[in-house]
Point group: C2
Chain length 790, copies 2
C-alpha cells in the first residue's frame, strides 16, 4: 500500500511512503520511488532480495541489441544494491519473522530513498534496520548507499555479501560480455562490462566503509568471485545496542560519456576516472556527498520551478512534486544525443525508447520550465534526422520520416515487430506502429514550433529547427495519396494515436497534423526568404527547398481534413470509425487493470469496434486550437463539446497518455469537476492504488501530463498563435497556485487564485499576454482580476 | 539434510531422501537427485521457486558459445518445471506456514523424483501436496510431471501458473535467441529457441491434463505471454478432501537430434515431431508413461548390471546404485558425437565439457559393464581427433593433441582461460590447463587399449582405435624435448594430474603415460604389419606411418622416466616437487569445504609447496602396473607403499577424482581399512553431509570412482597385460558381492565372499583369468577358494 504522507514542517507533502511490506507488489515502490539523475536510473529494489523483485540500473544512451533478432534497448547494468544479509547465519528477509514500524519512503525534496523497520527474527532476536540511498544530482556518476543495523535485544551475528553482480539481464536477454572483475585492497571492487553489439564499455567501482559504534572497522572480508559476479563477505558480532553502519559508494562510467570529441573514453581512461572519483567520494563519505546532492536539488529544481498548489487535498501538491521529480530524473539533460524513454529510467518497459510521448506530453514542461533541457531533447531529435531520412528512403518517401520508436540517433526505426498473445490464435500479435503510426513526424514539428514560440530561440531554429520542419514537411508531401474521385489528398493505411484502430484511412489527427506541418514549413520558408537569405540559401542547397516549397504549397491546400458531421458535429476519427459496431464499454471503463479488453477480443476484433484506447481526435482541439483550425473550421464550443462527450465515452484510457489531455479539454469546455476528476486519475496512473500499474516502469508521459493538466488546464496557460494566453480555471478545491515559467528567455512567476492573477516578470523585459480576450503588457509586477469564461 | 532410506521390501536401499526442507542448501538435492536419460538432464529444482534454486535443463551436445569472449558450453534450456502456486491468492512456499511429513526423494530403481508434505498455510488452511517427476528412459524426449493437491481442512482456492520459461540463462549468459511462443487450443504450449552462435533449434511443447476427484476438468485457463515466456494460469476452488491432479507432459526436440544423414531436422520438422510425440504421450497419461519408463530401467540397467553388495552398512549398496544411476543418466548413449560432461547433466559446472575424467574414471564402468556405450564414448573421441589435430598443428606439434576440455567434436580446445579470484592480487587467476595439461592424449590412448583388451572389439580398432593410438603417439614424439646434457627426452612445462603444480618439468605421470602411448603404438604397428596389411597400408597413406614408426621407436627408448629415490623409494612427481617447502597440512586435510587452501595461498604460492590436489604419481601404480612398468622398474610392494604413504599425506583430495584411486591403491598395499574409509569418503563426495559440494553439479568422475573402487579395488578385478586378473579383497564389512561384467563379448557373473569366488560364464565361451597368481579357465560355472595375498 502506497501512502502519501502529509508530513510536517519542511517535509509537508514531500514524502511518498509504503507503510506495509508486500512481497507480491514490489514493482510499485521499486518504480515510483526510483532514483536517478538523467545520466542513470536506479530502480528502488530492496537491498535483500525477493522473488518478485526487479533490479534495474540503466545509463542513458547505452543502447545495445542483445541478439540479432531483437531490437536495441537500454541494457540492465550490473547490480550494486543487493545485500545478502544473514542474521545468526539465517537469511534475512521480511517474509520471515515479524516486522514492526516498517516504512519505505522516497523523500522527493532530497531525492533520497529510506527504509526503516524493527524486525524480530524467527529465532526471536530484535533488530533495527535503516537503509538509505541516493543517486547524486551533482555527481552524475555516483550512487550512495548506507545501511545501519542495531541489535535491540541479544548479541547477534550479522554477515552480509556485498558486491557487483553482472548476472543481471533484461528479462533474460543478456547485453554484456563478461568483463574484468577485480578487488583492490580487499575493499574496492571493480567490474567491467562491454555491450555485446554496440561495444559500449561500462566500468563500475564500489567501495565500503564500515563502522561499529562510529569507530571504523578494518576487518578483512572474504573475497569472492564467480561468473559475472564479484563480492565481499563481511561478518560481525554485535552486542546489544551496538550500531553497525555500512556505507557503500559506487561510481559508474561508460564509454558513452561525453568527452571533448565524442570519441568515447577507452576502458583504461574509464577505469582511471571511475576509481579516482570513487576514492575522492570515499574521502567525503555518504553524509557529505548527500548534502551536496540535496543542495543541488534545492537550487536547480525546487527553487527554480517554484510550483505551489494550495489545495484542500494536499495530495495535489505532492502529485505535482512527484511529476517534477520524475521529469527531472528521467531527462538526460547532460547529453543532447539522448532522448527521454517512455518509462524514464525506471524499468525495462518500452526498452528505453523515445516515442511521441516526449514531444507532446513531456517536452512542454521543459519548454516552459527549463528551456535548456528542452533544447537538448529537441537537438536529440535533430540527430535522429539521420535515422528518419533513412526510414523515409527505405519506405519510398522523401524528407524525414521519424521512427515511431527511437534509441541511439543513428539507429533509425527500432519498434519491435511482435507483441503479446492473441487470445484467438494463441500466437504473438503483430505490432504495426513501426510501419504505419506516422503522426510522430508532425508531432516533432509541432514541438519545434512550440519551443520556438515559447523561447524565441532563433539560434536553435537556424541550426536545427528549420531543417526538421522542412524535412518532415517533405515527408508528408511525399506521403500524401491523390484520390482521383474526390480530387483531394488522403493518408491511407495508418495508425493514429488511438492504437486500437490499425490500418485506417484518413485518421483525423494524422491528416490535420500533416497539414499543420506543411503549413508551418511554408510559413517558415516565406519568413526566412524575407529575413535570412543566407540561411535559406544554405538550406536550399542541402534540401532542395525550392522544389519542396512548391510541392508543400500545392499539396497542403488539397489535404482532406475531416469536418464535423452535420447531425452531431462529431469529427470522424477516420473514414470508418463512426460506422463501426458500438458495444457496452461499462466493464472496461470500470476496469481495475488496463487493457482488459484484450481478454475478450483480439486486435482484429477490437479494430472493428467503436472503442478508443486514448485521446485521438480530441488531441487536435488541444494542440491545434490556437493555430490553423481556427482559420479553417469553426471551432465553436459546441463542436468541442460534441466531440468531447462522443469520444470520451468511447475512450478506455488504456494508455497513460490520455487522461491529462481529456482533463485539459474538460476544463476548456467548462466541465471543471470532470477536469479535476480526470486530473486526479492522471496522477493515479503511477501514484494510485492499483499496485501493478508501474511494474514495467513509471509512465513518463503521464508525469508530464500531470504538469500539463495543471498548467495548461487549470492555470489555463496556452500558446495561441505564438502568443501567451492565460485563461485560468482553478478547481474549487484549490485556493491558489504559484509557478515559474520561462517566456522568451526570462522567468515569469504567476500567482493564481480563483479570480486573480498576479504576475512578476523577473528580468523586467516587457511581455504581452491575453486573459479571457483582454490584452495585457507587463515588465514588472501586475495583479489582474478576472472572471471565468467559457 | 540428506538421508539414505534403508527402505522396505522392493525399495530397500533404493531411496535417497531429503527429510527436511532447507532453503539455503537446495543445490544438494537438486543435483544428486537430478533426472536424465543421456539425451537430457533435468535438475531437480522444486516446482515452487526459491531464492537459491538453480533450475537447469540440458540437452547433450547442444553446445553454444553465448558471447564472443566466452567458451562454448551446454546451454540451459527453457524451464518447464516451475509452478507458481497460490493458495487463497498468496504465494505458496515452504518458507512460510508450517510443513509436516516433508519428504523429497529420488527412487533410484524407478528413476522417479517425489515430494510429499502436509502444509499449513499462514492463514491456517491445511493442504496435502504430492509432486512426481521423471525423465523417460524409453522415450528420450519426454519429461513427465504430476502434482496432486488436497485440502485437508477448509475450502481453498488454488491457482497456479504453468508454462515454458526461456528467461533462463547460464549464470547470466544467455545462449538463446528469443523464438516463437504459442498456445494451441488453450492447453498445449509451444516455445522455440535457437542458440545464438551454433544455431541449434530447440522445440519444447508442454500440455496439461487436470482432474478434480478423477474427473477431467476443461476449465479455460488464462493465457499469458511475455518476453521469452509463455504460460497458462489455472484457478480452482476445492472443497475439503477434493483432490486436484495436474499432469504436465513435456517433449523436447532439437536440431542436434540424429536423423539419417546427421543434417539435423528443420524447425518445421522438429515442431511436428515434438507436437505429435506430445499428443501421443498425452493420450497415454503420466501413469502409463511412467510404467514403460520403469520397465526400461529394470531391464536395461538393474537386471543387466546386477551389482549387489551385502554389507553391514546397507548404505554401501545404495552408494553403488547411486553410482550406476548417475553413470546411466549422464551418458549420451544415443549419439556417438557426444561425450560425458564432468558434472553429467546436473549443473552448469565445467560447462558440459568432457575431460580425462571420462577415460580414466568413468569409461571403465562402461567398458566392463556396457561396452556399447563405451564404444560410443570412444567414438566421440575419434571424432574429436579433428579438433585434436588442429590443436597439435596450432601448437607446432604433429599428430593429435587432445583438447584438455572438449565439447562438440570439431570445437577443438574449449578450456576457459580465467578462473576464480587470486586472493593476493585480487584479480582472476589464469587457467593453464588448456595449454599445458597434456596427459589427456595418453589417457585416451590408454582407454582405447583397455577397451580393446576387455571387449576384443577388433572392428572398433580397425575403424577408430588404431588411428587414435598412432596419432597420439605422433603427438608425443613431436612433443618430446631433447636434453643434450642428459642425452634423454624430457617433457617440460606441463601440468600433471596434480593441478596445484603448474609449469613443471617431467611430471612422472605425463612422462610414463607418453611412454606407454608410444610403446602401444609401436606394438600395434608391429602386430598390424603382420596381421592386417591392407589396414596398415590404408593408415600409412593417411598418417605417414612408416616415418612415424621410426620416430616412435627412436624416441620412446630415450624418454626420461623418473625412478624411485634410493633413500626412500619415492618417485619424484616432477623435477622440483620433492625439493619444495613442506607445510603442516592438517588444517586442509580436515577441511569441511574443498580447496580451502586458496583462502590462504594464491596459485603461485601453492605452486611452491609440497601439496598435491589429487592422485598424480600414484595413479601410475594403478594404471600401468600391469604393462610397462613391470618391465622397466621394479615395482615391488615396498615402492608402492613408500609412494602411497608419501603422497597420500600430501594429497588434499581437492579433486573428486582422487579418493577412489587412493582407495584402490590402499587395498593393493593391504591397508584394507584405509581402503574402505577412502571408498566411503569417495561416496560422500556427492552423497555426504557437506551440503554445498554438489551445487555446481554432481561429480561424474567420482560416481565412476565409486564403481572403480568397488570392482578394481575390493573385487580386485584388473586388466593385466591384456588378461583378466581377479585378486579380491573384500572389506570386512562386506559379506558378499555380486556383479555382471562383459569380458570379450560375453557377460560373466561373479559372486564373491571373503575367501571364495563363484563365476558364471553366461554364453559358455571359454574365458581365462588369474586369481592371486593362479591361472583358471572356465566356460560355465566355477567356484574357487582363495586366500588374501599382498
Amino acid at each position: 500500500m502506497i501512502n502519501y504522507s502529509h508530513g510536517k514542517g519542511d517535509l509537508e507533502n514531500w514524502i511518498i511512503s509504503e507503510e506495509a511490506f508486500q512481497p507480491d507488489t514490489l514493482g510499485k515502490s521499486e518504480a515510483i520511488m526510483y532514483l536517478g539523475n538523467g545520466y542513470m536510473g536506479l530502480r528502488s529494489a530492496t537491498e535483500e532480495p525477493y522473488m518478485k523483485e526487479v533490479r534495474n540500473l540503466f545509463v542513458s544512451g547505452t543502447f545495445n541489441k542483445a541478439e540479432e533478432n531483437e531490437v536495441t534497448e537500454l541494457p540492465n547494468l550490473a547490480d550494486v544494491t543487493r545485500l545478502d544479509i544473514r542474521v545468526d547465519g539465517d537469511r534475512f528477509s521480511l517474509e520471515f519473522g515479524k516486522t514492526k514500524e516498517y516504512i519505505k519512503q522516497l523523500n522527493i525534496k532530497t531525492a533520497e530513498l529510506r527504509r526503516y523497520f524493527v524486525w524480530t527474527s524467527p529465532k526471536g532476536k530484535v533488530l533495527q534496520f535503516e537503509f538509505k540511498r541516493f543517486v547524486s544530482l551533482n555527481n552524475l556518476h555516483l550512487i550512495g548507499m548506507k545501511m545501519c543495523v542495531k541489535s535491540l535485544s541479544d548479541p547477534v551475528q550479522i554477515s552480509f555479501d556485498t558486491g557487483i553482480d553482472a548476472q543481471m539481464s533484461n528479462s533474460g536477454s543478456q547485453h554484456f560480455l563478461e568483463g574484468e572483475r577485480r578487488i583492490f585492497d580487499k575493499k574496492e571492487i571493480l567490474l567491467v562490462q562491454t555491450t555485446n553489439e554496440s561495444k559500449i564499455d561500462v566500468v563500475i567501482n564500489s567501495t565500503h566503509k564500515i563502522t561499529v559504534n562510529n569507530v571504523e572497522r578494518i576487518d578483512e572480508p572474504e573475497m569472492n568471485m564467480t561468473r559475472r559476479k564479484v563480492w565481499l563477505t563481511y561478518d560481525f558480532n554485535l552486542q546489544p545496542n551496538d550500531k553497525l553502519e555500512v556505507e557503500k559508494l559506487t561510481t559508474v562510467y561508460t564509454s558513452r560519456d561525453k568527452d571533448q570529441d565524442n570519441a568515447g573514453y577507452t576502458i583504461e581512461q574509464l577505469r582511471e576516472k571511475s576509481l579516482n572519483d570513487l576514492r575522492n567520494c570515499s574521502m567525503q563519505g555518504y553524509d557529505s556527498l548527500f548534502h551536496s546532492h540535496k543542495e543541488a536539488w534545492n537550487k536547480s529544481i525546487w527553487n527554480s520551478y517554484a510550483l505551489e498548489i494550495d489545495s484542500e487535498n494536499p495530495y495535489d501538491q505532492l502529485a505535482l512534486r512527484f511529476s517534477q521529480y520524475h521529469l527531472t530524473i528521467m531527462a538526460p539533460a547532460h547529453d543532447e544525443r539522448m532522448g527521454i524513454a517512455a518509462k524514464g529510467l525506471s524499468g525495462e518497459g518500452y526498452k528505453g525508447h523515445s516515442f511521441w510521448d516526449t514531444e507532446i506530453f513531456i517536452l512542454p514542461f521543459f519548454t516552459f520550465s527549463n528551456p535548456k533541457v528542452a533544447k537538448s531533447l529537441l537537438t536529440y531529435r535533430y540527430y535522429v534526422l539521420e535515422g528518419a531520412r533513412k526510414k523515409a528512403f527505405e519506405n519510398g518517401y522523401s524528407g524525414a520520416m521519424y521512427p515511431w520508436e527511437s534509441a541511439w540517433p543513428t539507429d533509425g526505426e527500432v519498434t519491435p515487430k511482435l507483441g503479446d498473445i492473441d487470445i484467438v490464435t494463441g500466437e504473438q500479435t503483430r505490432i504495426w506502429s513501426g510501419f504505419i503510426e506516422q503522426h510522430i513526424s508532425a508531432d516533432i514539428a509541432f514541438a519545434v514550433y512550440q519551443y520556438f514560440n515559447v523561447t524565441a530561440d532563433q539560434e536553435f531554429m537556424n541550426h536545427y529547427g528549420y531543417e526538421m520542419i522542412f524535412e518532415t514537411a517533405s515527408f508528408w508531401a511525399s506521403r500524401l495519396e491523390w484520390n482521383e474521385v474526390k480530387q483531394e489528398y488522403h493518408i491511407n493505411n495508418v495508425i493514429g494515436p488511438d492504437e486500437y484502430k490499425e490500418h485506417v484511412n484518413n485518421n483525423a489527427f494524422t491528416n490535420y497534423m500533416a497539414f499543420f506541418n506543411l503549413k508551418l514549413a511554408i510559413r517558415y520558408y516565406v519568413t526566412l526568404m524575407k529575413e535570412n537569405s543566407s540561411l535559406i540559401e544554405k538550406l536550399t542547397i542541402k534540401l532542395d527547398l525550392e522544389t519542396a516549397y512548391q510541392t508543400w504549397q500545392t499539396k497542403a491546400e488539397k489535404i482532406y481534413l475531416p469536418q464535423p458531421r452535420e447531425e452531431d458535429l462529431v469529427i470522424p476519427q477516420d473514414d470508418t470509425y463512426l460506422s463501426l459496431k458500438e458495444i457496452d464499454l461499462t466493464k472496461y471503463k470500470k476496469q481495475e487493470k488496463l487493457r482488459t479488453i484484450y481478454r475478450d477480443y483480439n486486435p482484429e476484433q477490437i479494430n472493428n469496434l467503436q472503442v478508443t484506447k486514448q485521446a485521438d481526435t480530441l488531441l487536435l482541439f488541444y494542440l491545434l486550437q490556437q493555430t490553423f483550425l481556427q482559420e479553417d473550421i469553426h471551432l465553436s464550443t459546441s463542436i468541442k463539446e460534441a466531440n468531447f462527450y462522443y469520444y470520451e465515452a468511447k475512450t478506455l484510457h488504456d494508455s497513460s497518455l490520455s487522461l491529462a489531455t481529456h482533463s485539459i479539454l474538460a476544463n476548456d469546455i467548462g466541465d471543471t469537476e470532470l477536469a479535476y476528476s480526470l486530473f486526479r486519475k492522471s496522477t493515479e496512473v503511477d501514484l494510485g492504488p492499483r499496485m501493478n500499474t508501474s511494474d514495467d516502469g513509471i509512465h513518463a508521459a503521464s508525469t508530464g501530463g500531470i504538469w500539463k493538466a495543471t498548467i495548461f488546464g487549470f492555470a489555463g496557460l496556452r500558446l495561441v498563435d505564438g502568443k501567451l494566453r492565460i485563461n485560468p480555471k482553478l478547481p474549487k478545491q484549490w485556493n491558489h497556485m504559484k509557478f515559474t515559467i520561462y517566456w522568451q528567455g526570462q522567468p515569469i512567476t504567476l500567482f493564481l487564485t480563483a479570480t486573480t492573477l498576479s504576475i512578476k516578470v523577473e528580468n523586467k523585459k516587457k511581455i504581452e499576454f491575453e486573459i479571457y480576450g483582454q490584452h495585457y503588457e507587463c515588465d514588472d509586477v501586475l495583479k489582474i482580476d478576472f472572471e471565468y469564461q467559457n
